[in-house]
């Protein structure tokens, strides 16, 4: 099935080595395109491709660096990413003046969540935000005494916490999987497949949609998205996961197919859901933090949906750790 991988392994390359080589090749190809395309007749369409590519280099460089740093490095990176995403979310969502200190406490859930990653107690991680923060923050809001807009405010803050902090935290949790439980490429391989599949899915859906997209799939929420882009992206990402999944993860057979078929539409769902939020708030991008891409949340939207699903499917089908 994976002839290229077999050949490369014969010459002594691990899956991660050739995986990184392929990612680097795409980066170089994209950068070359960013240098050439703006000079062609279609130039104006690609005006910010250069900025986008520079940002991709930084994003992928930082991610690769943190993965090399093991679960510790990954925890630091994704704790920062969660903070930036949550700050964007809580700044854009309507907030009540009275809730400033509640928002400060909401940020505090990040170090506490990561404390559970550090002491490696999965059960505590699992219930902390969805159960206990879910109850404690509304109680503290009740103590402040402003009841108008109470339900909407507490729901808004919790929505931000679950997507930006809890769901993203499954990535460092994956990094705690020991080598024996994922012998193909270690914990890094598990995270590598999640990140590559999620981002490739975004790119495939966008590119296929641009090339052959005609029928709008969500005209009110995300007018740029088409049925052709959605289905084409799903087929390509499913093929990618089936093709490289066994080299990076212990997923085989039914488990592999369930991940390959469910991850692409769920990534799409994350994208569309955040589009609805942005449309409600009245912004196109969540900030200008990443040049050419927009805000941290604009890049993270699909991952907040795919990370927990991928984690749980892996845990059910392939991992003894969780």
């Amino acid at each position: 099935m994976t002839k290229l991988a077999d050949t490369l392994q014969l010459i002594g390359a691990s899956p991660l080595a050739w995986g990184c080589a392929v990612v680097a090749a795409f980066l170089i190809a994209g950068s070359a395109a960013a240098l050439i395309l703006p000079r062609t007749s279609a130039g104006p369409d690609f005006a910010d491709l250069g900025k986008r590519m520079i940002s991709w280099w930084v994003i992928i460089g930082l991610t690769a660096g943190s993965l090399v740093g093991g679960w510790q490095g990954t925890s630091v990176l994704f704790a920062i990413v969660s903070f930036l995403a949550l700050r964007e979310f809580l700044s854009l969502a309507p907030a009540r003046r009275e809730d400033r200190l509640i928002i400060l406490l909401a940020y505090l859930t990040i170090p506490i969540s990561y404390l559970f990653v550090i002491i490696n107690i999965y059960m505590f991680y699992l219930v902390f935000i969805p159960v206990y923060v879910f109850l404690a923050l509304p109680f503290l809001m009740a103590c402040i005494g402003q009841t108008r807009g109470f339900l909407a405010s507490s729901a808004t803050i919790h929505w931000g916490l679950v997507t930006c902090v809890y769901n993203i935290g499954f990535i460092p949790l994956l990094m705690r999987v020991p080598r024996w439980d994922a012998p193909q490429a270690g914990a890094v391989g598990l995270v590598f497949l999640l990140l590559v599949a999620t981002e490739a899915n975004d790119v495939f859906q966008y590119v296929v949609g641009k090339l052959i997209g005609r029928r709008k799939i969500a005209p009110k929420v995300s007018p740029g998205k088409t049925w052709e882009g959605f289905l084409g992206g799903c087929v390509l990402t499913t093929a990618l996961i089936i093709l490289i999944g066994p080299d990076f993860t212990p997923l085989r057979g039914v488990g592999l197919w369930v991940v390959a078929l469910s991850l692409p539409p769920v990534g799409f769902a994350g994208d569309v859901t955040f589009s609805a939020i942005k449309r409600d708030i009245g912004v196109k991008d969540t900030s200008h933090f990443i040049p050419g891409h927009g805000g941290v949340l604009d890049r993270l939207d699909s991952l907040t949906f795919t990370a927990p699903l991928y984690f749980h499917l892996l845990a059910y089908y392939a991992l003894a750790t969780y």
């Binding site: 964007e88 907030a95 009275e98 400033r100 928002i103 940020y107 108008r148 912004v283 200008h288 933090f289």
Partner: protein, 216 residues
């Protein structure tokens, strides 16, 4: 003290501002890098001044000086020392307005000296999310006195939620800083003030929305 101020702004204030506000700058190329120049910004929070200071490159910083109310910032010796030496304020004595004393003399002297003066023409901090307070004409008198100084309008969105007037604990919130094209002294105060107001309102219109829930 110049080196201490430079060190504080680049090593402490810059990372702090990024943490607290994200310092999302739109139109950075419009910021003046040489004096004399005037920055006219809306004002909702003490964070405004600190955030603006972090936007300038180190080599320009020594020239950047915020105009600040003498009655507030020179009120006690500790705040006064920090304001003068670390923030580098140009004092404006609001209490002496109308008494015949030339309250803008230090600001004019700073412009003559080639400094980049940060002014908040609203005169005091307003509430985040509210409309701009009526602009005071001091900025027009300074532009008149130093017509070669361009006046750069800056809209800061969101600092009033990081640290509103009266609050003591800052809460991280993304802020956008929108820098507009500089305007110049028009020849009379009324048209200059109208142009400045229009420029600030145009920047405000481009800023990301800032929503407080309706709670009253």
């Amino acid at each position: 003290m110049t080196w201490l101020r430079l060190l504080l702004i680049t090593v402490v204030l810059r990372p702090w501002a990024r943490l607290m506000t994200g310092a999302d700058v739109i139109g950075r190329e419009h910021l003046p890098l040489t004096g004399p120049a005037i920055i006219a910004a809306n004002h909702n929070s003490h964070v405004d001044t600190l955030l603006l200071l972090t936007l300038f490159p180190a080599r320009t910083l020594a020239r950047v000086r915020p105009a600040a109310a003498a009655d507030y910032f020179l009120s006690n010796p500790a705040i006064s020392w920090v304001s003068r030496n670390l923030i580098g304020i140009v004092p404006v004595d609001r209490s002496a307005v109308g008494s015949g004393v030339d309250v803008l003399a230090p600001a004019r002297a700073a412009l003559e000296n080639g400094d980049i003066l940060i002014i908040f023409p609203e005169g005091t901090r307003g509430e985040a999310g509210e409309d701009m307070a009526p602009l005071k004409s001091g900025v027009a008198r300074l532009a008149e006195a130093c017509p070669r100084a361009p006046v750069t309008p800056v809209w800061i969105q969101g600092a009033g939620r990081v640290l509103p007037k009266g609050a003591h604990i800052p809460v991280p919130m993304t802020c956008a800083v929108l820098v507009g094209e500089p305007i110049h002294w028009t020849g009379d105060r009324a048209s200059f003030m109208a142009a400045l107001k229009q420029a600030l309102e145009a920047l405000h219109a481009q800023a990301p929305p800032l929503k407080w829930c309706e709670t009253d």
